[in-house]
């Protein structure tokens, strides 16, 4: 399987925050979730790989080609959703579309109309009259109407109600079925990824924590519940995170067999992506 995006050794510094040696790749044919808590560096990473902010160092390749050398051609093959507020809000949907459409060499008016009808959007409506969910749908319609091979989205489901999120996720799955080569989207709402993601990349404090196949990741980790008194310093080291109450402890670990060998009576549960994410930022399991 080819990688459609390869990021290696990416560094970017702001005053009090920096991306440090960010390295990951997106395999073709996968929906990849980019997870991390607020301020972990998700948006900065996306902005940097899209050339919206200058990198200090590192290499970015889309479809096997260097981004800096082939920026325009690469952008022509990518669909972008940047979240809320990325339009001139006093324009109508049709006017904003006319601007965006002229940027792409293979804009499909037919596809755009289909998405507009699918999402019940009126081209004559002004953008500032749209709800948050409608704006997201409109952004998606724009991003998917030029035969994009890769869709990159920054927090697309943030602030949306469950129905709109479900519609959005369904659209992403259909996009992949209809020939999309990949979806890369950042989110801190990990329940969306439980439904559709194939691969997960986690970032924390500007560093990549892991890149794993979702199912393999969920199989690797376990939530462990037991009596706090049985925890020794050696056992504690086997956990990514532990929280304790007067009733016992709850921890998350990827060393399940070792933990069982020390504590055969503990309860184990399959974690959610959120459990794994919080476990890796040192939060409560």
């Amino acid at each position: 399987m080819n990688d459609i995006l390869t990021v290696s050794g990416l560094n970017k510094s702001y005053g009090d925050f920096s991306l440090q040696d960010v390295t990951f790749s997106l395999p073709e044919g996968c929906i990849t979730g980019f997870i991390g808590v607020n301020g972990a560096g998700k948006t900065t990473t996306l902005r940097t790989i899209l050339g919206l902010t200058a990198k200090s160092s590192g290499n970015i390749r889309f479809f096997g080609r260097d981004f800096e050398q082939n920026e325009r051609q690469i952008k022509d093959r990518i669909g972008i959703v940047l979240g809320d507020g990325c339009f001139y809000e006093e324009l109508t949907l049709s006017e904003m579309k006319s601007i965006i459409a002229s940027a792409y060499s293979s804009w499909s008016e037919q596809d755009f109309k289909r998405y507009m009808e699918l999402f019940s959007l009126d081209p004559k409506q002004k953008i500032n009259t749209l709800s948050k969910g409608m704006r997201m749908k409109y952004a998606l319609a724009l991003a998917l109407s030029h035969h994009a091979e890769l869709l990159i989205m920054d927090e697309p489901t943030s602030g949306l109600d469950p129905l709109v999120r479900s519609q959005l996720l369904k659209t992403l799955v259909e996009y992949m079925k209809n020939g999309g080569k990949g979806v890369f989207f950042s989110t801190h709402i990990t329940s969306d990824l439980d439904k559709i993601a194939d691969t997960l990349i986690m970032i924390d404090n500007g560093r990549i924590v892991f890149q794993e196949d979702k199912d393999a990741l969920l199989d690797t980790y376990r939530i462990v519940k037991g009596d706090s008194r049985s925890l020794t310093a050696e056992i504690r080291k086997l956990f990514s995170a532990i929280s304790e109450t007067e009733f016992g402890f709850t921890g998350i670990t990827k060393n399940v067999s070792e933990v069982r060998s020390y504590l055969p009576d503990v309860l184990t549960e399959r974690p959610s992506i959120e459990d794994i994410m919080l476990g890796n930022v040192g939060g409560a399991a």
């Binding site: 325009r72 952008k75 940047l82 990325c86 001139y88 002229s102 060499s105």
Partner: protein, 213 residues
Amino acid sequence: MMVFALLKKDFLIVKKYVLIMLLLVILIPPVMRWRTPEFTGVLGFILSVIFSVFMLLQYVSLKEYQFPKAAALLCATPFSRKAMVLSKYIFCMAVYVICCIVFKLETLMIPELGTADIKLFALMFLVTAGFIGLYLPVQYQLGYEKTKIAFMVVIMASPIILPLLLRMEGFHLDFLSMVSPYVISGGIVLLGAVFLSVSAFLSMRIYAKADLA
């Protein structure tokens, strides 16, 4: 083509001000002629160009300032940052050209407004080029708010300063009548074009390094 799509974008985001500005461009020369007959309508033309270019550019910049992510989205599409910058320059020059056409038509209909000849248009091109040539790189560097305040003071002072300048003793360009008007105009336009080119180059360099929202 991309530059023209972005030019269209600039006109679209200020579309509700365009008609008002057009009305001002039409009205300023005859009103100035009525209020200060000694300067015919030429002063009005100069002011109409300065006001319309400055005000419309301000409105465009205001909209970009209000919706910074929109520019980021455009830069994430195949639109290049160079095209984004160039479209601003072309936008200003397009406004200038419209002002010239309006004034030319007005002088044909109201001869008292003066002569709208090539020298006047060339001189005004140089003034416009000088203004946006300074304004745009400063704005790309400092941002909308800081630049607006500095230039607003200059523009508000222009109705006072301009007549004073024109009344200045020794402010004679009579020697230019010895030279062919086409040579003078060509030289002025060339000077303006060079200034604009240098300014656009600087703006592109500044914007190429800018972190977008």
